[in-house]
Symmetry: C2
DNA sequence: ACAATAGTGTCTCTTAGACAATATCGA
DNA sequence: TCGATATTGTCTAAGAGACACTATTGT
């Protein structure tokens, strides 16, 4: 008996109201029918090339979102997590800009502060906590947070995103040096974020070769 | 149909002959009977509390090793990895000192340079590569490599381990500063590594509270 | 005493953060 | 012109690496 009930769950994260928020859906079926939980579903071996493809499918079908960034978080398993018995869930987290949720997100989906959600069914509370920790940790040394911005953004906007994630103000000069070192952004020439009663900011976007879900520069500070 | 053939595989790593080596076993059964592969096995829901427990059991039963450090690496899945069809494997990596393999390791187990092994069945070559990358990456900013040393060791020995993993010489003063910052080692007072025709080195060990498989200080350089 | 490596003090260079000057907008 | 924020230059402080000196062993 080694065939196991195998699912994928997706932690869809975005930045809203000054904090990380996770998308939750009311469950259709028992157990916990009607209760808010992570978007998830069974792996369909005939349909899904692998677990990541299953996560993409589940995310698309249940929330309407196709995420530019999707990464495996970890696999949660065991006897206690589901009242029906031993189960296994391969979990992925996605980072999307809030605008994408506005435009493409299903109405059934709701956003909830990721640091403070409690009382979710299964081990979903713990899974969200793990995702938040991963994102925070990666944000401290990588360019991951750019996926929480839209296609284009200004450096002050990006810095605000980092500051929200890390929970502390960042030095402006150091921040810009670091982003420049990453070498992943390019100015959209001629495009300025105008409107404020002050000097407009240059608008940037990811360089072409970093657009699609490309692996990030890990440990960027050491990459000289 | 969402019950899936679920296994665990363990990448047992140690440091030998100046490099990372992975333990491989000849497979008992088809497919690939008689071929060298990672120690692995089916998850037994009745017996294993979760996938990590399954990994511990498989490691113990197949190699004789109980590892002081075992961490989930990732889950590999899909249609192509096993000729029998869609499968899923939750992979863990273990770090052990070479002496433990000498004393507790089964004879059937053999060690192979982890950077250069090729041609393993399933996706085991790729899995080992992922484990090696994870260990190298973590070694650059954490105390993970202490698990490749024995219970006690000297700082020059530990530095040699780091240098082997990172593939470059390290500054002695900086290395010692960093280890001191971690605050995880204590000198075994009175114990000196004597024998060489030179000043003997102080012997250290992990502080009690860091002994058992405790979570490491991640991103240690920033921990003030 | 000498060779060899362990352990430590200190200097320098690199890098991160503070401060501040300049730039450019709307009102 | 003024207020506000963007952008850039530069000084300073903290941390990493280089160098060198002292310590302790076996021969």
């Amino acid at each position: 008996m080694s065939d196991i009930v195998s699912t994928v769950d997706v932690i869809l994260l975005t930045l809203k109201d000054g904090g990380l928020q996770a998308a939750l859906l009311r469950r259709d079926h028992e157990p916990y029918a009607g209760v808010l939980a992570l978007p998830g579903g069974y792996i369909h071996p005939e349909e899904d090339a692998d677990a990541e493809a299953a996560a993409e499918r589940v995310l698309r079908d249940k929330t309407g979102i196709v995420s530019p960034y999707l990464e495996q978080l970890a696999t949660f398993s065991g006897r206690g997590r589901d009242p029906r018995g031993w189960s296994l869930s391969v979990c992925y987290y996605a980072l999307v800009p809030p605008a994408l949720i506005e435009s493409a997100g299903r109405a059934e989906m709701s956003l909830h502060p990721a640091d403070t959600v409690r009382g979710l069914p299964f081990d979903h509370t713990r899974i969200i906590a793990a995702a938040v920790e991963r994102v925070r940790n990666k944000s401290s040394y990588s360019s991951l947070p750019v996926y929480l911005c839209g296609e284009t953004f200004t450096l002050p906007q990006l810095q605000a995103v980092y500051e929200t994630l890390l929970g502390e103000p960042l030095n402006k000069v150091s921040f810009r040096r670091k982003i420049a070192e990453f070498g992943i952004l390019e100015p959209v020439k001629g495009a300025l974020a105008t409107g404020g009663a002050h000097r407009p900011a240059q608008i940037y976007r990811l360089k072409q070769r970093f657009r699609k879900n490309l692996s990030l520069t890990d440990r960027g500070l050491n990459t000289g």
